[in-house]
Symmetry: C2
Subunit: 322 residues, 2 copies
């Protein structure tokens, strides 16, 4: 059995594991990231953590895959920038390759997580998949014609920054109406807090004493209990997310859209509502029989990053990129 080392770099921690081709995780480890440390210090820490683990793992491994936030150049193996980490022009893959004398592959974190779902998760053997993470923002990955799609200069797709409303909500990116401002967990929480504040009769008051303590789980729970205010918030949320997904259906004609991130913890309850929205509204429904896009919930959750990083290595070796 062949193993790859998956390295999932996040804003607060780096999670690693050796992963077999059949998806078995061995010798998992992680450590916190000091955002104020220079990037080379973090690299040294990563190398040391890996070397400390090697005797316990006790086997050979075929290479390393890295999922990293920010702007990644998969061909050069560099992290061109990662705003949250303060990284810039960081040739992390070539440096790992040189140190361990193993091939190393890097992709942006969302694309890596998507590859995890395709190798080991909910979308095995799919060829055209859109991946959305509904968290603080709306992250995205694209798998088209059986390959990760990195776009021009490898900067990845920013589906969370496609606009669904002219002159809509102001986004942190400077644009108005971005999907992220409507379909992220943060947006859902803000909308629910606002609705709660204006509806003293809402059951959401029983779940949290002040609107500031609102979260996505609360509004879904209150909605299931039949609270009218929560029902309206969820209905609106589904229509926002649904409109975004419909745009991606018509643009990419994917076989599946995978939902991950905090809101996706609602699982089948969320999935069936979004699926229903797509089925009722997809392009060409009235005249022809359009391709149906399945809505799926991420199967790997917060482990998608590690699995995906390892998958990236297996995939890169298969395609002979190193």
């Amino acid at each position: 059995m062949r193993y790859a080392l998956g390295v999932d770099i996040g804003g607060t921690s780096i999670k690693c594991s050796f992963v077999s081709e059949s998806g078995e995780m061995v010798s998992r480890f992680s450590f916190g990231v000091n955002r104020k440390a220079p990037q080379n210090a973090i690299f040294d820490e990563l190398v040391e953590a890996i070397e400390n683990k090697l005797p316990f793992f006790g086997k050979d491994f075929v290479g390393i895959g890295v999922g990293c936030p920010g702007g990644i150049n998969p061909e050069k193996g560099t992290c061109d920038y990662a705003t949250n980490l303060g990284w810039k022009d960081f040739p992390i893959a070539p440096m790992l390759e040189k140190h361990f004398e193993k091939p190393c592959f890097i992709e942006n974190d969302a694309n890596a997580a998507l590859l995890g779902e395709i190798y080991f998760g909910v979308a095995k053997n799919y060829k055209n998949v859109v991946f959305l993470t509904l968290g603080t923002g709306v992250g995205s990955g694209l798998y088209l014609n059986g390959h990760i799609f990195s776009g021009n200069e490898g900067k990845g797709a920013e589906l969370g920054h496609t606009s669904i409303e002219l002159n809509g909500r102001l986004c942190g990116c400077g644009r108005r109406g971005c999907l992220e401002c409507y379909a992220s967990a943060s947006a859902l929480t803000k909308d629910a807090a606002w609705a709660m504040a204006h509806h003293p009769e809402s059951k959401m008051w029983d779940y949290c004493k002040t609107p500031e303590r609102m979260n996505g789980a609360i509004v879904f729970e209150a909605e299931k209990q039949g609270d009218e205010t929560a029902k309206e918030v969820v209905r609106e949320y589904i229509s926002y997310l649904g409109e975004g997904c419909l745009n991606f259906c018509n643009a990419f004609r994917p076989e599946a859209i995978i939902l991950g991130g905090g809101v996706a913890r609602q699982g089948e309850y969320l999935r069936s509502k979004v699926q229903d929205y797509l089925d009722r509204n997809r392009y060409g429904l009235l005249r022809v029989n359009p391709p149906k896009t399945k809505v799926l919930i991420s199967a790997l959750g917060s482990d998608a990053g590690i699995y995906g990083a390892a998958a990236l290595c297996f995939e890169g070796l298969k395609q002979g990129q190193r």
Copy 2:
């Protein structure tokens, strides 16, 4: 020099030519399509037209490429439906292949036109390109990672049916807010006619006696003459088209967006306005140096379809698809 036969099927006519690998058109011909005729009768007419032309062409050709409206399955070589032509489950490529004993390739018309621009037109050697035709509707083609992207079931991208406004204008497809309702030539004409009707002082009255005679060229002409009403209509049109293009920039990270169709006859005047809109608003502008997407105007115009059909044949042979 190798030649391919390009066949561009449209709603009113079928245009054909032999095209050399260097982009020379030889023995061009076309004929009207009787929409009421059964599809097999049209096929017989096409075969006869080609056979009549062969003695005049007098050379061998390597194969046939077909650009066709509607839902195309490039793998099977079928037109699954073409609403405007009344076609259904039409195996046009295998039928041509059998008759002429030459390989035949088929794609939807917008994808074929895009391939024409990549082989012979404005986007030579580009790898990631979005093509939009601004006509009666907004048609689209996608070229990603150096290949035509046909999507799931080969139904092609419908970028004109991505929504830019929640609960926006009602589209013929059943959805609301579709880009087509804002950025097509028809939408521009309607918006200009409405503005003219409400502004008796507008110079547009000098160009057409009634709002019903409005067209896209008139509003641009009046705008260039400094007419305030026309300026507002064009400003709004550019923001609609710009928002759509920005969505495609953030979703596909293309090197270029090519504009074709009626509105694109405005050429550099239109191009520079859209380019400026993208340059000022593209994602990540404030924090990082995002990839820049070039706006280009179709170089082949209404011939893109024939060129593209021939290119489809050269491309298919290169990739060994037949």
